[in-house]
Subunit: 244 residues, 6 copies
Amino acid sequence: MRKPRRPSKRTIQQLGRVTTPTITTVLTKEHGINNAAIRNVWPCSTSACRFAGPAYTIRYLPLREDLKPAQYLDHRDNLITPAVESMPPGCVAVLDANQRNDVGMLGGNLVTRMKARGIAGVVTDGGMRDIPEIAEIGLPVFVTAIAAPPSFTKLMAVDAERPVSCGGVPVYPGDVIVADEEGVVCVPAHLAASVAEIGLAMDHIEGYIQQRLARGEPLEGLYPPSERVRREFAQWVASGEPPI
Amino acid sequence: MRKPRRPSKRTIQQLGRVTTPTITTVLTKEHGINNAAIRNVWPCSTSACRFAGPAYTIRYLPLREDLKPAQYLDHRDNLITPAVESMPPGCVAVLDANQRNDVGMLGGNLVTRMKARGIAGVVTDGGMRDIPEIAEIGLPVFVTAIAAPPSFTKLMAVDAERPVSCGGVPVYPGDVIVADEEGVVCVPAHLAASVAEIGLAMDHIEGYIQQRLARGEPLEGLYPPSERVRREFAQWVASGEPPI
Amino acid sequence: MRKPRRPSKRTIQQLGRVTTPTITTVLTKEHGINNAAIRNVWPCSTSACRFAGPAYTIRYLPLREDLKPAQYLDHRDNLITPAVESMPPGCVAVLDANQRNDVGMLGGNLVTRMKARGIAGVVTDGGMRDIPEIAEIGLPVFVTAIAAPPSFTKLMAVDAERPVSCGGVPVYPGDVIVADEEGVVCVPAHLAASVAEIGLAMDHIEGYIQQRLARGEPLEGLYPPSERVRREFAQWVASGEPPI
Amino acid sequence: MRKPRRPSKRTIQQLGRVTTPTITTVLTKEHGINNAAIRNVWPCSTSACRFAGPAYTIRYLPLREDLKPAQYLDHRDNLITPAVESMPPGCVAVLDANQRNDVGMLGGNLVTRMKARGIAGVVTDGGMRDIPEIAEIGLPVFVTAIAAPPSFTKLMAVDAERPVSCGGVPVYPGDVIVADEEGVVCVPAHLAASVAEIGLAMDHIEGYIQQRLARGEPLEGLYPPSERVRREFAQWVASGEPPI
Amino acid sequence: MRKPRRPSKRTIQQLGRVTTPTITTVLTKEHGINNAAIRNVWPCSTSACRFAGPAYTIRYLPLREDLKPAQYLDHRDNLITPAVESMPPGCVAVLDANQRNDVGMLGGNLVTRMKARGIAGVVTDGGMRDIPEIAEIGLPVFVTAIAAPPSFTKLMAVDAERPVSCGGVPVYPGDVIVADEEGVVCVPAHLAASVAEIGLAMDHIEGYIQQRLARGEPLEGLYPPSERVRREFAQWVASGEPPI
Amino acid sequence: MRKPRRPSKRTIQQLGRVTTPTITTVLTKEHGINNAAIRNVWPCSTSACRFAGPAYTIRYLPLREDLKPAQYLDHRDNLITPAVESMPPGCVAVLDANQRNDVGMLGGNLVTRMKARGIAGVVTDGGMRDIPEIAEIGLPVFVTAIAAPPSFTKLMAVDAERPVSCGGVPVYPGDVIVADEEGVVCVPAHLAASVAEIGLAMDHIEGYIQQRLARGEPLEGLYPPSERVRREFAQWVASGEPPI
């Protein structure tokens, strides 16, 4: 597959302002992509759970016991230290943990270093250790479980910057990973600009509709918006958005 | 099966004052029903998690891709809009999501409308989107997961007001659905009055027993209460319930 | 298997000061034990989640329906009341619930009694009922789920103080069970003293390293610590541990 | 949803001559339907495993214990006897067993009656009892498991001729169910004629290609067939199909 | 629980002549026991799959790595060799493998010894190795999987002749284990005589009914048999059972 | 990780003569490797199920819908045709299907081509289509399921000759894959010679032991063999192996 162009900084910033439910709606309705939300992940800290950035992937496999020592960070063959030290600032680390929730993929020390290096966030379909520390560090980290044991009890890292599966979703290096309170989604690089534009517009009108629903209007014609409601929305926007 | 009489408003109110653990105890000990608690659901908001009301059921199946457009709310064949607009106030919407936790069955707009229409609560064995909004709306909604993607990425609604399975529990339209901090239970319509009466009495004496246990009395004879303890409870009740 | 000597009170206290991630690291790196963390459990109360004590085990099997009445606490054959009344103060009750998350293994009354008797904590790979009450009682209780139904809807107790499986981990009576915010681990009795000693030292130096990482130093040589960093740590400790 | 016209007898016969792998290929490539093969089912008898016919559906839910007696075939409320006696000859009975493989949905007596009534076949995503008898009876029956216990130990029938899920696949009454050695697929009624026509042609040319591959030709251009290979196939067909 | 009397040899022989589907029907309809069929097991050899005998149980737990050497058959602490050498002839070995299908619980050598010692059969909810050899040895062995790795890669034996769970079913030592082509069921010791008697009668009349169904009679009144059909059956039996 | 030397042709041939249970025993007892047997796979044909050869790996991920056309064999970006055409004769194709059993990874045409090119065998932790054809072709193919739908309904190929996971086992290109009636195991390349040598010796003496067990000798001292039995075995071998 030919590599798509990397999305612009502006596109990434825009995507960071679209909610993840809206991103998934745009992907399925406009592009037929139904499998974009990384399953079962939640943020270690509810106050640090938003980011958007290009994926930097690390792939793990089930451990082969004779390769366990090579997983220790001070072994010359370990892949994690060089990966962490070469991630570009602003990227999102995506760790394919084979959906194991009984190992902690990272701990406080590695997350501290990632924060210092300017990583935008982390997502893994595995567990995480040192959760209280991570919550304090303030780097947004999405995980499937709290898990004390180090990753090398069950897994080994095998390569970086290759396509991976994370929470059932295929992630290519450079795809845009977006997170908020409702989870993490992966936007294919070549669709990022389109999704950002449509998504922002959709979030805008849906907020307007919800206010009208809250006042007791029925669904019919209002949600999804009829042509008439779209015109009323446009007028309301043009009028300077007073509290409707 | 012959349809049972609908439980009275009073019975429903009483059931809303019995805890869900007690309801399950009464159902298993008095009626041999072991499978009444909807599995794995939790409330979107901890401050809005209590309700009791008759079930209004909606049934979903795995999506057939050619029927995806009919799931959009503005398609003439969509079942959701008419279902939401015809639910009676006070009912509990029960959505059989086939235990899929990777889709959001409802979003903020539909929940806003349900709140406006006086629905008592919602329970689904699927995920939910727009969770922060739903927490603000204040309608109690029990779900199995936070899930950004719209339901039509994987599911389609097929009918309403038919018996369904929700979280492993059979639910007939009209069964009484009761929720509190510990989850959601389904009380078969014809047993509702009996469960309400026995349950209220059981909660009363168990609170009394717990206070005596907290003061250091041993289990034997006290919990479950012997005849003597039952008499002491009756005296305590008769005495006007001072702090024991 | 010959029974190992019981760990000393001092060892148990020391283990209670080591974090569970560190305990699992020591067990896998020093002793080759990869399976020590009880899976999927979380504390009913975040303010009561730390303990260390010897395991007192209770084993359950799937219910055989004709033995259901013998599970009621007032049946002469029930095993739970005598077990609760004979647990030694300071022990940790370990309930092998066969990983069923649809039953509540204990309720408020039994937990109240366990608290009164000086039990250090409870862990089960099953659900729990009366969670709000348990949070108030203040006894640390780790569970896999909130579940209203009583345990005898699906399970029956068959013996106590035999080896059990809890959350996928083998637990022998007398093993040291340690819990903190990140979960519960089982330390085999004969390894307790060694794990306590190495673990305390490891937590000490890792805290020092994290502070240096937070100031921007790279991983190489610092984490894991080189000989030079170990010397610097020793000097820092010797210097009286000012804020580095 | 508007009901589609029932497929003609001729279409059903043609579908019965297309292999199930080919049917799934046509459904996904021509119609975007990826979810047509009922998962995990196998035939009770390898010599009786082919059929094609319109679906007659029966839906089950988890048992509610007080409704167990109504599942006995001699109870006036039981749904199974009237369903079996009203199935049209040539139909395929589709039993939605909620993917439970620990119950036997039917036994020898009911299958004997279905055979006598001219049913074309049976498929369920549950288990089956009396498997040796069923193999002798000769009615093709696809199941997920051998399971001795009667269905009413865990399930209850709730309705017939409604849309169901079977092995993860949505099945509407009247969809064409096709089975062969490789399993069972569901062809939506309105697509049946198209799938039959394309599928027959595809099976024809693929058989031709395989013979050329067996003689050592490389994949490129041959499989899938280039325009040139399609012409050669046409010539070969025109030539009267001697052994190529 | 008080130990029930052991079933007589005659009862065990009678149970060996009742089919496992019938045994499960009698247990659920007469005794309310729904959970008697060991899930997912199949015989290593289709020609050696029938037995009935009292259970001799062996219980395993997840392996603790430092106890792995004690699992080797030549280690003084291993439990398997003494268990095999002390099983009474005629018993059925029931191995609780924690439903792991990735280990082989026994191999050809141990099964050879069990055959030589007169064991009636083996059932485990785990895998088995040396399946081709076991098929030749002729001892009926029911398993959930073919699995090459020895059990001590994941499991350790902890005790014998204690209650266990096997394939989701509780088994007490001395319960009667019955196997045929359709699987393995566990009959509680105190119910064995009753199940044997009712089951034999039920199998007798059901065979008669099936013949009448095969000739085209409808279900109504015939299956389950009405009083009239029961009388006709009695006459047919009295008449010496010619081919009806 | 440095690449290990490829095992010699002779080592591969020797491994092909060791049974898979014995290989797993040697790997766990001699090398501490517990995870070598690919889970849940079985051969499409019982008469073609033996092979040994170096792994040629192909890796799949969950499908991203916009990349579905690139999976068709006539798309210029498809990876499968070039992979099949470049596999070296004698290798074993290992397809990482993410343990999906609802798709057919290969069909008759591709297997025909692989057979023509001299591939030794195929193993996948996914399903397979065209099973009857594959059984006739005679190439040994191990799968987890019969599954009619083509792989591109759910999966996409992403790379070849990278480390993969297959049935829970890590497989590096060049590892030796060995299959027999009991499944498929992966021998790390650098251990192949050692495993072959020890395994052949172990199979030899175990066959001798089994004959003595069959004659009624007890386990003690015989299995595992004591020094005395080892000497008797050596004498028996030296004597020319008459039927003992």
